[in-house]
Each structure stands twice: as C-alpha cells, then as structure tokens.
Amino acid sequence: MPPGFSSSDFYYLMPELVITAGALLVLALDVLLPRAWERVLSWVTVAVILGAGLALVPSAGQNLTIARDLVAIDGFATFFKVLFLVAAALTVLMSPRYLTLENVHPGEYYFLVLCATLGMMFMAGGVDLITLFIGLETMAVSFYVLTGIIRPNKRSNEAAIKYFVLGAFSLGLLLYGMSILYGLTGSTHLRVIATSLVAGDGGLLLPFAVMLLVAGIGFKIAAVPFHMWAPDVYEGAPTPITAFLSVGSKAASFAMLLRIFVAGLPAFRADGLGTAWGQPFGWGAFFYVLAVVTMTVGNLAALTQGNIKRLLAYSSIAHAGYILIGIVAGSTRGVSAALVYLMIYAFMQLGAFAVVVMLRRKDIIGDELKDLTGLYATHPGAAIAMLVFMLSLGGIPPTAGFMGKFWVFGAAIDAGYVWLAVIGVLNSAVSLYYYIRIVVFMWISEEEEKSAAFGISPAVATVLAVTLAMTVLLGIYPRLLFDFAQASAASLGSVPSLGLR
C-alpha cells in the first residue's frame, strides 16, 4: 500500500468503489449479454446503486478525512451521497421504456449514469480543489455524452454541443479562479485556504478569483446570468437525463459551492472593505444579488413557456435562487435549510419529470403543455401525482415544497435578510401561476378520446409512487430530514455570523 493510505480509506470509499465496479460491470454485461437481455441492465444498475447505498452505512455519523486529506467522510458528504444515489436510482427506473422508444443503446447509457453519480459523490466529499475539479469533470463529461445520446436526433445533438461548449467555457473560468486561489495560498486544500486567507488578502486578485469561482459554479447551478444553457439543454436532452441533470448535477454543484465558499472561503464572505446596500461586501453580497436575479428571471421567463421541459428548466433556475437564499443566510440554519430544500426539490422535480417521461409515446414527444390535455381523464393517478408535485414546487402546504420554502425564508429572516425573504415569497407567489397552468391542462378533457389510454410501465409507476410518497411525507413529517440536514450542515461548519445585518 502506498504511504499515507490505509485499508480504512478503502473501507470508507466503498460506495464510490461499488459504483465504479458496477459501472464496469454494466459495460461488460452490455458486451456479453445477448440483445434480448438488455432490459436486465437497468435492474443491474439499480442493484449497483442500492449496493452503494448499503456501502454508505459505515460513513454514517463519521467525521474524518481519508486518502491523504483529499476526501472528507462527514455528515455533509453523506447527506449528498444519499441524495445522489436516490436521484440516480429514480432516473434509472424511469429510463427503460424511454430508451426503447428513442432507440438508445442502454449499456453505455447506464454506464454513464453511474459515472456521473461517481463524479457527484466526489464533488460532495472532496475537500481539495483538485478532487472537486476531477469530480466535477467526471460528472460533466458524462452529462455531455448523455445529453447527446440520442444520436440521430438533432435536438439532442444541439443540446449536447451547447452544453459541452458552454460547460468547457465555464470550466475555464472556474479553473482560472482556482489557479489564482492556489497562487494566493500555496495550497489547494480548502482547510489550508480557509486558515491562510484573511479578509483583504491579495488585493484585487482574491475578489477576481472569487468572481471566477462564482461564475464557474453559477453556471453549473444555472444561476442567472450564467443560466442560459439550461433551458436549451433541458429541452433537448433525453427526459430522464434532464431530470437527473436538474436534480443531481444541481445538488452536486451546490455541494461544491458550499464546500468552497462556506468551508474554504469564510473570510471572504465579507471582505471587511466596506458595504454595499448595507450588506458587508464579499461573496455573501454576490450571492444575494444572484439569488434575487435568479429567482425573478427564472419565474418571469417560465410564465410564458409552452414546453413543459423548458418550463421546468426555468422553474429549476428559480429554485436555484431559493436555495441560494439559504446560502446567503450563511448560518448553520441557512445551510441546513439549503440542504433540506435540495432534498425536497429532488423528489418533486424527479416526480414531475417522471410524468413527462410517461407522456413520451410512440409518435408523441409529449413535452408540450397541450400533451397533458386530458391526463386526469385517462390517468387520474398520474394527474393527481403531478398536481401534488406542482403544488409542492409552488410551495403550498402541506406538501414538502412548503417546508423547504418555509425553512429557507425563515433562515433568511432569522439571519436578518428580511428583504430577501420578501422577494422570495413574492416570487413563489408568481411561480404558482405557471404551475397551476400545468394543472389546468391536465384537467381539461377533450370530448373525443384523443389521448387514448397508454400504459405506465411498472418502473415509472414506482418512481411516481416513491416521489409522491416522499413529497407528501416530507411535508407532513419533515422531522427526520430536518434532523439529518441539521447534523450534516453542522459538520460543514458555518461562516462566522456577521456583525452587520
């Protein structure tokens, strides 16, 4: 064993190792199994994800770093890993029929989904800029391919190119920021960076680096004005991948954002050089502005969309804004609110996309609002589930979405950001308008049974059931999630509270 490594490293890295081995297994099975057995691959993938979940059990309650201080095994990482595994499993479950319809080869698809999951897990666990960067790229590269995996489809191609070009561009910005950060501190380890940087260090270079980091990560979480790729890519990508992208990729990028800014750059939350609009200047102020702009632009643009995937893309942009509110608050409570929100958002968003996946039939793409027409008449269960998801996304109690919003806005007010909460509440009031539009379409039934009954595959039904159950359960009994998130946020530590409010 190389120096500095021990067997416990592998013990704690088990989930990642399981995913890696599983990915290779899927690739091998794809070659070995006869064509007719293709469907088995999805179940193998789900089994691998469940196995990784089991391997995650030893990490519970731990708080240590492994692999020569490159990866942390703490509550924060565990929380996100659970989220990624759940999102990946649900994504895989909603895929098989869609892949058959789109004539996509499943082997590489599932392989790439597992690779993306692997990347996300390192983004949550990494405490070193290099680890985070490698995780980010593992995830991003997998998503570039997954987005364009329907090769004969022009929309899928175009989405892939856009995502790839802009993703690489934003990576350039992010890396440039990281290189400056390294130059200023002489380390890529977040803890060292945190301790060696004092507010005001580095003159103009530090804010410049921070801005590049904000832009690079802002791209991944689709914060305005770095969001423009999102609607196009979400629309063009295969729907299950859109779902995974909007949940997994976003959550992983938030994990990385929290790691870098809250754990790595607490000093620059407020650089001590003055204030802007009564707020201490620093990344707190940047994210304040980003949160406001992101929520507002996301919700406004969603109002007039006719394509469900595009609409959900804008809605997901707006949700990134709400989550940013928790990060602006910066307190442990704010961070835990952001975590709670991400988990809740994962279920409702995946559920909504599962309905869109379901709508894809032989010759109907099923991503326009009018394709929802009469859903209540033909599939009341799915329609009611979609209703719950929409209400939850809009923040209506007693669904989980309300809990998320309540907690985020509550944390903001608690930390003194009253106006931010006001803008957030106003935005969520606006957002309900377009969520309700979706509901309206489902309840309109045309006289002729044009949208004749189409089957729901058991796998998609499972996804709907799980997401629906969680959306309702987390709204009525959010306690477990809250405790989990609070413990996880505490393991991250929090930025010192600001004197100024």
Binding site: L166, V214, M228, F281, I444
Partner: protein, 700 residues
C-alpha cells in the same frame, strides 16, 4: 377525537376522488353528506364539552416542524371561538352538501363524484384552518381552501368565464397569501413561536404600539393583507363577485360558511396581537367600512341575482372587519355566525330560482315567482328580512351589536372617527335593506317575465316616448352569465313556463332549516339592554381573554370592549336609541325598495303594454319618477356603475391587475427573446456576468 372533525370530510374526499367514478350518484352524494353530518355530530359533541367544561381542548398529533430547541407541533385546538366556527362550518356545510344532491343531479356520475370530492376537501381544509393551534397548521387550511375554491369556482371549466373566475380567485388569493406568509415569518423571527397562545402571550408582554410603527404593527398589517384576500375586502375583493361562476351551492359554501370568513376568523384568533397594534385596527376598521359602503352601492344596481348576493357578502364582511377594527371581536364573530345562516339561505334560495328557471340568472327576466315557488319564496323572504336587520331576526342583533360597539368604541390613535364610521355603517344598512328587497321584488313579485327572451330589451330601443325604463337596472352590456349546464338540460321543460317546479325535498329541507336558523340564531346574542343575556359574547370572551388582561395594563385606553357586566347603566338608553334607529333604517330601506321596484314598476309595466293613447297623461305621472330617477337613482347608479363599478372595479383594480399582468407578460416574452439559441450569446452572457460583478466590486 378532534382530528376526526377534519378527517371525516377528508375521507369522503379520498373515496370520491379515487373510486367515485364507479359509484352511483346516490352513493357518492350520500357518502359526502354522511361524512359531513358525522363531522357535525363530532363537532357538536366537542362543542358541548367546551361549553360545559368551559376550557379549550387541545390535541397534538405529532411534532411537525422541528427547529432545534423549538418545535412546532401539528396541533388542533378548540376554544369557544373555534367551537362557533366548527359548528358553522360543519352544520351549514352539511346542509349545503344535502342541497347539492338535488342541485347537481344532472351531472354525469363522474362529474358528480368530482364535485362532491372537491366539496368535502373544501370543508376539510376549512376545518383545519379553524382548528389549527398555530399559524403553520392554519396555513395548510388557508392555502387548501384557496386551492379548492379555485377547483370549485372553475368546476365548469369548459365555460370560459368559470375558468377565468377560478384563476382570478386563485391569483388574488395568492397576493393575500403573500402577506400571510410574511406576517407569519416575521412573527416567527421575533417571537420564536407560532402557537396562537404563545403569540398572544408574547404580544401581551409588550406595550401596545400606540404611536410607533413597530414589529407588531408590521406583522398585523401583513396578516391583514392576507385577510383582505381571503375575505374579499378592498383592494382584493374583485374575485368574489366573479366567484359566482361556480355552481350555486359552491357560492353558498364560499360566501357563508367557509373561505371568506377565514380572514375575519384569523384576526379574531389573534385578537391580542391586533389589539396591540392600534394602527392596524384603525386600518382594519377603515377598510371594512369602506368596503361595506362600496359593495352596498354596487349591489344596488346589479341585475344578476347571484352578483347582488355576492356584493352583499362583500358588504357584510366589511361589517365584520369594522367590528374587528373596533376591537369588538365577539360582535364580529356573532355577525359571522348569523350571516352564515341567512347568506347560505339566500344563495341556496337563488340556486332554487336558477334551477327552476333553467339557468336564468338575470333579475330582469324573473318576476312573479312567488306563487310558482312558494317554499323558495318564503324562505328567501326570511333571509332577506334577516339580512336587512329587522328585529327580532338574527341579522338585527348581530348588526346592531356591531353598530353599537362602533358608536361607543374607543378613539383610535387619538382620532375619534367613531360617529363617522357609525354613520357609514347606518347608510350601508339602508342600502342593504334596499337592494335585498329590490331583489325580492324583482324576482318574486310583479309580472312573470321569464318566458321573455333572455336578452333584455334595451330601453332606448323601445318605441319613442316610452316611459321610464321599467327596470332600473343599468344598461351596460354585462349580461349575467347563464348557468349553461342547467340551461342545456332544463331547457326542454323550463320554457314551457307552465310548470315551474319548486325545490325538490333535498333542496327544500336545507332551505327550511336555514330559514328557521335565520330567525332564531340571533337569540343567543340578545343584548342586555333589552333584557337579554348576550350569551354568545360571554361564551366567546375567554378566546379574547389575554387581550383583556393586556388591555388592562394600559391605563386610560381600554383597547377591547369592556365586559357587559361592568357596563354602566346610562348605556342602556343609548343602546335602545341606536337600536330604534337601525330598526327604522331597515324599514326605510324596505320601503324604498317597495316604492321603486314594486309599486311603480307594476304601473309602468301596465302602461308600457297598453294605452298608447293615454301615453302623455301617464307620462306626466311619471315625471315624478324621472325626477326621482334623475335626482336620486341616476346619481347613485352613475356613481355605482360608472364611478364605482366601472371606474374603480373595472378601471382601476382590474386595470391594475391586467396592467401588472401585461407588463409581467411582456417581461416574460422579452426574457424569452433574449434566449436566442446562439451559443456565442450565451457565452457572452456568462462572461458579462463576471465582468459585471467585477465592475460592481471596483466601482464600489
């Protein structure tokens, strides 16, 4: 036990929503009614426990929102205030359910089940709202009734006005909810509790914000914004008149027992908090009385039977808010309670009329229904007398109590506007009696006009020299919507005109029960001045108890009403005088209505049909009317149609809503256009973001 009250209707909802399409109408409708009756029985038992035990019952289901050391439980609580509310909601709600069996019988099985599932869900959410022991639980019900009202108002979603009205209700309510959430969050941040008792205690511990604009004033103003949305007050009342696009029993449910009372209830629930924010109370009273007056004048000229009733609801809610603003919480809740009876009665009665006339809602096409629909007529008349405030019917006692409290209340922030508020209240009272009896006379008395074509003949198109338009309704083209479902299915037999059928038993029984209720409901609140005991106020007092103690801490300015027992004797005389005044006003209103819409209309009808030769002579006789018309009716009509109805309602408020809508839409489309699809633009936007942040940093 407590949880059963909302859970029973919810179970009805679940069954009807999921398997309702496979059930027959008898089963799905019967089930819906059964759960409501059961809920009423549980509520009655609970209520009896509260009344006899004299203390609140609480039930905590589980810890809902954990927040570190602070926990928000999912708790339900019944105190005297909630007792009154659950009895009203389940009792009147059950009657409306029963009525719906008859009213909706023409729907297909699936639609029928869908209707009843919504209705049950609505009741369930309303009960959660009422029973919630803290703000978040109340908010579940608060949002839930908003959602259900949207579903129910837009029940006939194929009808565009219905779908639009549903959407309008939803959007307007969201504006109110915005205030509610913010108020709630503000209280949470500063009091660190959201339990109603906890908030009351925390508020009582602080000095009233008499001259300052502090936290409690801000929070209560935000909460009041929420209340204006739910309870249809200025400036958010616009959805309620449109809400009559839904099935009539739904209007009855929304207007009488649920939904609109939520705002009043919420303020009463937080009586202590509001008492500590006198500025807010002044605003509440002002808005309330302004709404009452405005809605009353508008109600005077409407021709759609349900629209008149809708404005009447807005007006009556204004009274309740006036009471809240005066700190007379018990009086406001008393009025809420009596109003539930007669307004439900009036709406269900109008439903029976519409039902009999195959969906006709235009008053100008009614008339003479007295003989054809005796049950409907007599019950409707009872309701009208009750709302007009004629003693000894229920409306008299509650309205009089509010007016009395207004007159004798305390100065608000040094500004003593009580006499003015009282005067406006009295004028509104006059208007109420007038427009209600105008409705009664136009619909039930006079000649039968319902065989006439649906479109009214515009007066200008009649022969030259025609007398005063027999129908003093305004002539704008806002023709009332026709309930098409009924129109379509009933058309075959209704226009034969010969056999108009009165309400079937399932509709008649609720009408009769409600009529009895409208007569006797007021007796629990007979004031001391006329040798009553005003039991309801004594009963409700504990719910505002802390507020009494809190008020006692501030000498000189008691913020809430003094207990009746301590009332000095000289008030009795004044109270009797005021009572006489309001009784006189009620009769005056009825008299005006009789003069304009009963006596002269009959004459004008006769003249218009015959005697072309005697035209001139009769014309002279009608000069009187024209003078009246020009001097009294026209200005009022002008004020209400073009001034208030067209100007404020359509022009300003709708205009503002549409204006906001338009600019939001434009902004949204602009943002869409910015999404050019060009990668280079996107990259530029990305980089521009960096440059902007950097520029901001440097420029600062």
């Amino acid at each position: 036990m407590l949880v059963l009250i909302p859970l029973l209707p919810f179970a009805g909802f679940v069954i009807n929503a999921f398997v309702g399409r496979r059930l027959s109408k008898t089963v799905s409708g019967g089930l819906a009614c059964l759960v409501m009756v059961a809920a009423f029985l549980v509520a009655a038992i609970t209520g009896w426990t509260v009344i006899s035990g004299g203390h609140a019952i609480e039930q905590t289901l589980f810890t809902w929102l954990p927040s570190g050391d602070l926990q928000i439980p999912f708790a339900l609580r019944v105190d005297p205030l909630a007792t009154v509310m659950i009895l009203v909601v389940t009792g009147i709600g059950a009657l409306i359910h029963v009525y719906s069996i008859g009213y909706m019988h023409e729907e297909t099985d699936g639609e029928y089940a869908r209707y009843f599932s919504y209705l049950n869900l609505f009741a369930s959410f309303m009960l959660v709202l009422v029973l919630g022991a803290n703000f978040p639980v109340m908010f579940i019900g608060w949002e839930g009734v908003g959602l259900c009202s949207y579903l129910l108002i837009g029940f006939w979603f194929r009808k565009k006005p219905a779908a639009d009205a549903g959407k309008k209700a939803f959007v307007v309510n969201r504006i109110g909810d915005f205030g509610f959430i913010l108020g709630m969050l503000l209280l949470f941040a500063s009091f660190h509790t959201l339990d109603f008792q906890g908030v009351a205690l925390a508020a009582a511990a602080r000095a009233p914000e008499t001259a300052t604009f502090g936290l409690m004033t801000a929070a209560t103003l935000l909460l009041f914004l929420g209340a204006t949305g739910k309870s249809a007050q200025i400036p958010l009342y616009v959805w309620l008149p449109d809400a009559m696009e839904g099935p009539t029993p739904v209007s009855a449910l929304i207007h009488a027992a649920t939904m609109v009372t939520a705002g009043v209830y919420m303020i009463a629930r937080n009586a202590v908090l509001f008492s500590h924010a006198p500025t807010t109370l002044a605003v509440v009273a002002g808005i309330g009385v302004a709404t009452a007056l405005m809605a009353g004048t508008i109600g005077l000229v409407q021709n759609d039977i349900k629209r008149v009733l809708a404005y009447s609801t807005v007006s009556q809610l204004g009274y309740m808010f006036l009471a809240m603003g005066m700190g007379a919480y018990a009086a406001g809740i008393f009025h809420l309670y009596t109003h539930a009876f007669f307004k439900a009665l009036l709406f269900l009665g109008s439903g029976a009329v519409i039902h009999a006339l195959a969906g006709e809602q235009d008053l100008r096409n009614m008339g003479g229904l007295k003989k054809a629909l005796p049950v409907t007529y007599w019950t409707f008349l009872t309701g009208a007398i009750a709302i007009a405030g004629v003693p000894p019917l229920s409306g008299f006692f509650s309205k009089d109590e509010i007016l009395f409290r207004t007159f004798t209340g305390t100065a608000v922030n040094g500004w003593n506007g009580r006499p003015l508020l009282w005067l406006i209240g009295i004028v509104t009272s006059l208007l109420t009696a007038t427009y209600m009896f105008r409705l009664v006379f136009m619909a039930f008395h006079g000649e039968r006009r319902h065989d006439a074509p649906a479109a009214p003949v515009r007066p200008e198109e009649e022969e030259p020299g025609a007398p005063v338009p027999p129908l003093p309704g305004p002539v704008y083209s806002d023709l009332p919507a026709v309930d098409r479902t009924h129109g379509a299915t009933h058309a075959s037999h209704a226009h034969e005109g010969a056999h108009l059928h009165d309400a079937p038993p399932s509709m008649a029984i609720p009408l009769i029960v409600l009529a009895i209720g409208s007569i006797v409901a007021g007796f629990i609140g007979v004031p001391h001045a006329i040798w009553g005991s005003n039991r309801i106020e004594t009963f409700l007092d504990p719910s505002f108890e802390v507020s009494r103690e809190a008020a006692a801490t501030e000498p000189g300015a008691p913020l809430v009403d003094v207990p009746p027992a301590a009332e000095p004797h000289e008030d009795t005389g004044r109270e009797l005088t005021l009572m006489a005044v309001s009784t006189g006003i009620a009769f005056a209103g009825i008299g005006i209505a009789m003069y304009f819409w009963l006596r002269n209309r009959a004459a004008s009808d006769r003249m218009a049909r015959r005697f072309a030769a005697l035209h001139r002579l009769l014309l002279n006789k009608y000069y009187v009317d024209e003078i009246y018309d020009a001097a009294v009716v026209q200005p009022i009509r002008l004020l209400s149609t073009s001034g208030l109805w067209k100007g404020v309602d359509v022009g300003i408020i709708d205009g503002a809503v549409n204006g906001v809508g338009l600019s939001v839409g434009a902004g949204s489309r602009g943002l869409r256009r910015a999404q050019t699809g060009s990668v280079r633009t996107y990259a530029a936007s990305l980089f521009l973001g960096v440059v902007l942040i950097l520029g901001w940093y440097l420029w600062r």
